[in-house]
């Protein structure tokens, strides 16, 4: 273990930052190849959709317009150069700028992700702490069963059941059309609270398990025993000493799940008829919309990589025991 102050930390952060670049580059290369291996071609799909069998000359022309006639490495270089300047071009399917396509859906996906996080954290921290304090009691077993069930229940099915319950008991269906929060907050929440709950349950299960095991670990530490020995009030021991230290791993799980929620709600969005990033991804793949697929994957994977980086440096900063290698 080397020194804990000054240079090593800065060096670690810089190294960790630089490591993100090859990963992002690799993600870009991987999705670039993957989406082109999918049988079918965006131009052919689009043209044949419009007028049955289409003119091969027109197709070649259209392919040239997108630069699809150039060698792969050339296409990749052009795209990467654009991506580095955050210019992802236009959608090959709709022709609209990528940013435009994504911006429309991003607000919705972000809001669902934030609401699901609130649901998850509000459930996870009290339940996890309770289970850890009463380890191996019936409370602990109940919390564990509740959280294992959360991991086992498909969010999309929970969504169907939620809709069903609302329909049968209240004769009411959540609004099916998206209203931005600033236009009509009630309308907006009435629609988005259900997917947030459906996803939040699974999410809370992950976080509850992490809170429980982190608390169990921390409660066995010497400094907790010391705090108890010097007669500190149990409430203070829990809030100041234990919970604060147990929060680090929980924060990591919550952060990473959040990054995944942004683009990973592919199925739940389908159930609730939400026009979010997940649905956009499914459509982009179905249309072989190369530019849109690439941009979406870069967004989702990029969010994950950045959150991961932030978590690592937060750890390094908060916990001097972490070794900087």
């Amino acid at each position: 273990m080397r020194g804990t102050r000054g240079r090593p930390v800065a060096k670690y952060i810089l190294k960790r930052f630089l490591l993100m670049i090859p990963t992002l580059f690799g993600v870009a290369a991987l999705i670039f190849i993957l989406i082109r291996v999918v049988p079918g071609d965006v131009v052919e799909l689009r043209m044949s959709g419009e007028s049955g069998a289409s003119d091969p000359r027109l197709i070649a022309q259209e392919r040239a317009r997108f630069g699809l006639d150039k060698p792969l490495w050339h296409q990749f270089a052009v795209w990467t150069w654009g991506a580095m300047r955050l210019d992802f071009g236009t959608s090959m399917w709709t022709g609209a700028p990528i940013w435009e396509e994504i911006r429309l859906r991003f607000a919705l996906s972000l809001q669902v992700a934030i609401m699901a996080t609130i649901v998850a954290v509000a459930l996870a921290i009290p339940l996890g702490v309770l289970a850890a304090l009463k380890q191996d009691s019936w409370v602990d077993y109940a919390v564990r069963i509740f959280s294992i069930a959360g991991l086992a229940t498909p969010s999309f099915w929970l969504g169907i059941v939620l809709i069903l319950v609302l329909l049968i008991t209240f004769k009411w269906l959540p609004p099916m059309v998206y209203t931005p929060f600033w236009v009509n907050p009630w309308q907006n929440l009435a629609q988005l609270i259900w997917p947030a709950v459906a996803v939040g349950y699974r999410y809370s299960a992950v976080a509850t398990r992490m809170t429980r095991s982190a608390m169990l670990e921390v409660l066995r530490e010497d400094y907790i025993r010391t705090a108890r020995a010097k007669g500190l009030v149990e409430k203070l021991i829990l809030s100041r000493h234990a919970l604060k230290n147990a929060m680090l791993p929980v924060l990591t799980v919550v952060g990473l799940e959040f990054a995944f929620l942004l683009g990973g709600l592919v199925v739940t969005e389908q159930v609730f008829n939400l026009n979010g990033l997940g649905l956009l991804f499914v459509q982009a793949v179905a249309h072989r919309d190369y530019t849109l697929t690439q941009a979406l994957v870069m967004l989702v994977a990029g969010a994950f990589i950045v959150v991961n980086f932030l978590m690592d440096i937060t750890f390094a900063w908060l916990d001097p025991r972490i070794r900087y290698r």
Partner: protein
């Protein structure tokens, strides 16, 4: 015995009888110590039996359409009702367990095994190879599970072997990372040095000396993947990108008509979801207890 903790091992060692008696004793002590895990194991065994004996148990043929009995509510003839094509929901659930278990076991086994080999190899060779493999793993892990699986299905097409491949790919790096960290500690142990000094080939050291010693994290990852693979298959089938009609699969049963007729025929939407949840729940219960028994330090997984 690879599947028991030191405590359970001691309990098993007391019974010095036939191997079968030892296994039975180990199973009993597992049941006593970890009741939740035992419940999971029992449900898994029942599921395996049901899947194997599907033609004997199922009251109807799962793919035969009966327009005389469309959307029938649960009754004496159809215990769990029928779907929009008059197919018996119970029979489709029973046959659906085959799909879930084949895809679940197939992808979890292949994913965990390839992951373990990569993880151990990466740790064993170290240096450049380790560094490059780690970077490649980082790239794959940055994709959400479902997104990578979706892309793979789009490339491969959707029959069951392709579905297994698509679900396996995102699992390999996740397993490799965990196994690698266990293998790093093993690499430093004297018996690996001894094996190297004895002039054994790399392949032999990896397969015979290191791989058996990462059995605990391997089995833990395997059981964790089982539940995830079943969920992923259900999600893909629900999107219409997994198993295709008329094959019976739980995720597929929730697709289309189940949502459309949810109010008129809620049994179509409720029972397949319960089946998925129960199966994954059982695998998770068992996996959790197995993890606690084998390696309490991996609790955070």
């Amino acid at each position: 015995m690879a599947i028991t903790s030191p405590i359970d091992q001691a309990a098993a060692a007391e019974v010095e009888r036939t191997p079968r008696a030892r296994w039975w004793a180990a199973a009993q002590s597992f049941g006593r110590r970890r009741p939740l895990g035992a419940i999971g194991a029992i449900v898994i065994i029942i599921m395996l039996v049901v899947a194997a004996a599907a033609p004997l148990i199922a009251p109807y043929d799962p793919v035969v359409v009966d327009f005389g009995a469309m959307l029938a509510a649960p009754n004496a003839a159809h215990w769990l009702g029928t779907d929009a094509f008059g197919r018996d929901v119970l029979s489709r659930l029973i046959y659906g367990s085959r799909t879930a278990l084949i895809v679940g076991f197939g992808s979890a086994f292949i994913g965990a095994t390839l992951g373990a080999i990569l993880g151990v190899g990466s740790a064993y060779f170290g240096g450049r190879i380790d560094l490059y493999l780690q970077r490649v793993m980082d790239i794959f892990i940055s994709f959400p599970l479902i997104i990578l699986a979706l892309a793979m299905v789009a490339i491969l097409g959707n029959n069951i072997p392709n579905l297994i491949t698509a679900i396996t790919i995102p699992m390999i790096p996740r397993c490799a990372l965990v196994i690698r960290s266990s293998a790093l500690a093993i690499r430093e142990l004297p018996y690996v040095d001894a094996a190297r000094a004895a002039g054994f080939r790399h392949r032999r050291i990896i397969l015979r000396h290191m791989l058996p010693n990462v059995m605990a994290p391997y089995l833990i990852m395997l059981t964790a993947f089982l539940g995830q693979a079943i969920l992923l298959e259900a999600s893909l089938s629900f999107l219409g990108l997994g198993v295709q009609e008329p094959t019976a699969a739980w995720g597929l049963m929730l697709r289309g008509a189940a949502v459309e007729f949810a109010e008129a025929a809620p049994w179509m939407a409720i029972f397949p979801g319960l089946a998925i949840s129960l199966a994954v729940f059982a695998f998770n219960l068992f996996g959790d207890s197995l993890r606690d028994a084998l390696d309490p330090k991996l609790r955070t997984l």
